[in-house]
């Protein structure tokens, strides 16, 4: 259970002016819930993830995970970024083991666990390869394994498929759902793709920029397991339509006002 309570974050820009990145965000995320965050660039989605991760301190408000307030980085969270950020000098296996090495948690079973995750992500046979020998999609799979190795309760994903081509991206979304199904986690997933957001999520959090606020939270009433055939369903269409309206409707209105 992640509770975000009236959270605000203000950055001081170089010229000394205050920039409000997030304003008055409140959100409660249930255990094992898949939440996607969509919104235009600069609406503070990534900042929100970093606040939940404890990498940034909030300006006002509070975040708690399982009742405990977040005051700094905690080890029960896994992070996946837009770029795989694998270590170029380490094999895929060692990359997956990296968080355990950092936290001195390597045990006899660690390698077995890593191999299991690598197999789960469909990378069997690539354990001893180096990152540059893998395609972008495969590198990102390895990055997901790395995030899962510490068995975190929460997974924070910052546009993890943003740098992949469209086909790989669709494939990866389904893969992620499959992995999530086998290893249930609470996932906060930032994306720019509206269809991706709807396909993956239990609830889609739509954010609006300047200052970053939650425009609306949309329930996705689609059955699981999800697949791309559901895109044709009216529930799917309703969700994407509503999200588009929230993101672009505002913008259209604003443009009209300026004109």
């Amino acid at each position: 259970m992640i509770e975000i309570d009236r959270l605000s974050k203000t950055f001081r820009s170089r010229d000394g002016a205050d920039v409000v990145a997030l304003k008055n965000i409140s959100l409660a995320v249930r255990d094992h819930e898949f939440i996607t965050l969509v919104g235009a660039s600069g609406c503070g989605k990534s900042t929100l993830l970093r606040l939940v991760a404890g990498l940034l301190p909030p300006t006002a408000g509070a975040i708690s995970i399982d009742g405990k307030p977040v005051s700094g980085p905690r080890r029960d969270i896994g992070m996946v970024f837009q770029s795989p950020t694998l270590l170029p000098w380490a094999t895929i296996l060692d990359n997956v083991l990296f968080p355990l090495k950092l936290t001195h948690q390597i045990t006899e079973g660690s390698r077995e666990k890593a191999r299991h995750l690598i197999a789960l992500a469909g990378l069997s046979g690539f354990e001893e390869k180096y990152p540059k020998e893998l395609s972008g999609g495969m590198q990102q799979r390895a990055a997901i394994c790395r995030a899962l190795i510490t068995e975190p309760a929460t997974l924070l994903m910052d546009e993890p498929f943003g740098a992949l081509d469209a086909l790989t991206r669709e494939e990866m979304s389904l893969e992620l759902l499959r992995i999530w199904n086998e290893q249930p986690k609470t996932i906060l997933f930032v994306t720019h793709s509206i269809t991706e957001a709807v396909l993956l999520a239990d609830r889609v959090v739509v954010m609006s920029p300047r200052p970053g606020q939650i425009a609306d939270v949309i329930d996705v009433p689609l059955d699981r397991p999800r697949n791309f055939d559901q895109e044709a369903r009216s529930e799917f269409q309703d969700c994407t339509h509503r999200i588009r309206e929230l993101i672009f409707g505002n913008r259209a209105r604003r443009t009209a006002a300026v004109a």
Binding site: A53, G72, P73, R75, I77, L87, F98, T103
Partner: protein, 272 residues
Amino acid sequence: MATAREERQRSLSLRRFVLSSRDVLLPAAVLVLLVVMWEGSVHLFDIKPFILPAPSAIWTATTEIWSTVMGHTMATLNTVLIGFLVSIAVSLPLAVLITSSPYVSTAVYPLLVLTQSIPKVALAPILVIALGANELPRIVVTFLVAFFPLVISMAAGLLSVPSDLIELGRSYRASRFQELYRIRLPYAVPFIFSGLKVAIALAVVGAVVGEFVAADRGLGYLITSSTAFFKTPLAFGAMILLSLMGIVLFQIVVVIERVFFPWSSGQETVVV
């Protein structure tokens, strides 16, 4: 089937051999040609050996006192290696310090640039007075010449880590030391090696500068002492040995990188 495939394999490896030997043989042939032309024109135009000695004269002058020449070579090599190692030992902590805080960087960078703007040839005689006529001033000059590009490339390497990766480390509450040891330093390896390659070449220059000013041994000393007596062939020999030393040391650094950090070679960035 099998024979056809073998045939193809053989022609492929032959092709590869021809291609690789072309890369070696062609420049070697050009070099030999130049030496022959050099030798020929010295005899043809009757050029005095103290102005431009023929390659054969250089060979004779150098090999007839080979053991003495080798002694001088070893002395220079000694200075080069010690100076080089000292500059590594100083550069690494310095680069870590510079990159650890913007304050340190602001405080130290101008001083580094200052040490570089001092002409080492001018500094060498002063160092001899201060440190005495021994090995020490030569090592100090070598170090001063070699360490700057090393610090700059190491610092650039330590700062080249993607910020996401640093965040990843922080999210697992990695200590500053772990961040340095597990993430920043390995990331800096390609940069460090491009710095090392520049530094080893400069270390040879530094050692010779030191020997020019005050030495009773070394190839730099051999050049000054032999030119003083118009023994130009021997000076040429010492010069050729110096460049050979530079090439060999450079290649040793290249080989060390390839063997111990195979993922590093090929993605280096030239910083200096």
